[in-house]
């Protein structure tokens, strides 16, 4: 199958590969898998606790070129966004940017799942004390 130029670029030069220590303050971790193909993807965000901005993001994906490219692109998009803005990233945005063919759409879904999981993990660990108090 022919990959688009952007997929090949991310595959050959993946951005932000690596990981943060899970327990570092501000870090949210998402680990997800694609049952269709068995790919696994870990995506992490590091939020600046003063500004609420995602200042860094990292990923590690064991999967096909499209899965690697989708997560690589996702980490680029995450940086500089707030947690709420990051939640708006949709798999269709990734499909359009990378020109993924229909059989690879699940790779972009995986990346969106990973973002959501990382954000949820961050929120769970860092729910502001006052928000926690007010919801009780």
């Amino acid at each position: 199958m022919a990959y688009s130029e952007k997929v090949v670029d991310h595959y050959n030069n993946p951005r932000n590969v690596g990981s943060f220590t899970k327990d570092t303050p501000g870090v949210g971790t998402g680990l997800v898998g694609a049952p269709e193909c068995g790919d696994v993807m870990k995506l992490q965000i590091k939020v600046n606790l003063d500004t609420g901005m995602i200042e860094d993001a990292k990923f590690k994906t064991f999967g096909c070129g499209s899965a690697i490219a989708s997560s690589s692109l996702a980490t680029e998009w995450l940086k500089g966004k707030t947690v709420d803005e990051a939640a708006k990233i949709k798999n269709t945005d990734i499909v359009n940017e990378l020109k993924l063919p229909p059989v690879k759409i699940h790779c972009s879904v995986l990346a969106e799942d990973a973002i959501k999981a990382a954000l949820a993990d961050y929120r769970e660990k860092h729910a502001p004390a006052d928000a926690r108090a007010s919801s009780e």
Binding site: G33, P35, E36, G38, D39, G65, P102
Partner: protein
């Protein structure tokens, strides 16, 4: 017409392989395009279509696991494996474990010598592989045995649960299989009778 209907079969998983093959040959002979060369063009097109449908149905049903994958798609009204409405939840431990093995595999590869992986790393990976293969087999036995039987004997309510269980077992199998394939590739080994399913 779904693939079961092509063979005049109910939507059941307990299909005798020899019987299916016999039916396939019989239907193939009867509908082979070569026997209908004198027919009208319109009829010939129909015959060709039926022949293609028969081949597709046989491919989908002959392997017991493939049959389950097809059944799940059919029950969910999908044509392809893309677009599952509800994704099966993978146990987090399984994903963690697969991820960790993949990481150790990657480390072994990056510290390998021109001659290949270090002996210690090879042994560790081979041990992982044996363990994962045993689990992979267990998932397949569960799919082909108790779960398939539960589908065949269950009513509508049980069947909905069986579909969920099928999806989970198929997903677990896919995760295991992917890592097994990757280890095999790293070790430079290909096993007989085991078809790699991946990847690009």
């Amino acid at each position: 017409m779904d693939h079961f209907e092509v063979f005049g079969l109910p939507r059941r998983l307990g299909i005798d392989a020899a019987e299916l093959q016999r039916k396939f040959y019989e239907l193939s002979r009867r509908g082979h395009p070569d026997f209908h060369q004198g027919a009208l063009p319109e009829r010939q097109a129909e015959i060709l279509e039926a022949s293609a449908r028969l081949n597709a149905a046989y491919r989908a049903l002959r392997d017991p696991i493939g049959r389950i994958e097809y059944l799940v798609r059919l029950e969910e009204g999908r044509d392809t494996r893309e677009g599952a409405t509800v994704k099966p939840k993978a146990p987090p431990e399984l994903l963690e474990e697969m991820f960790e093995i993949q990481e150790s595999l990657q480390e072994a590869q990056s510290s390998s010598q021109p001659g290949g992986l270090e002996a210690g790393a090879r042994a560790t990976l081979a041990a992982h592989r044996e363990r994962l293969l045993a689990r992979h087999q267990k998932e397949e036995h569960r799919l082909r045995g108790p779960l398939s039987e539960a589908w065949d004997s269950g009513g509508a309510a049980e069947r909905a649960d069986v579909i969920t269980a099928f999806k989970e077992a198929l997903a677990a199998r896919a995760y295991l299989r992917t890592v097994i394939d990757d280890i095999d590739e790293a070790l430079g080994e290909v096993r007989e009778g085991y078809v790699s399913h991946r990847r690009h």
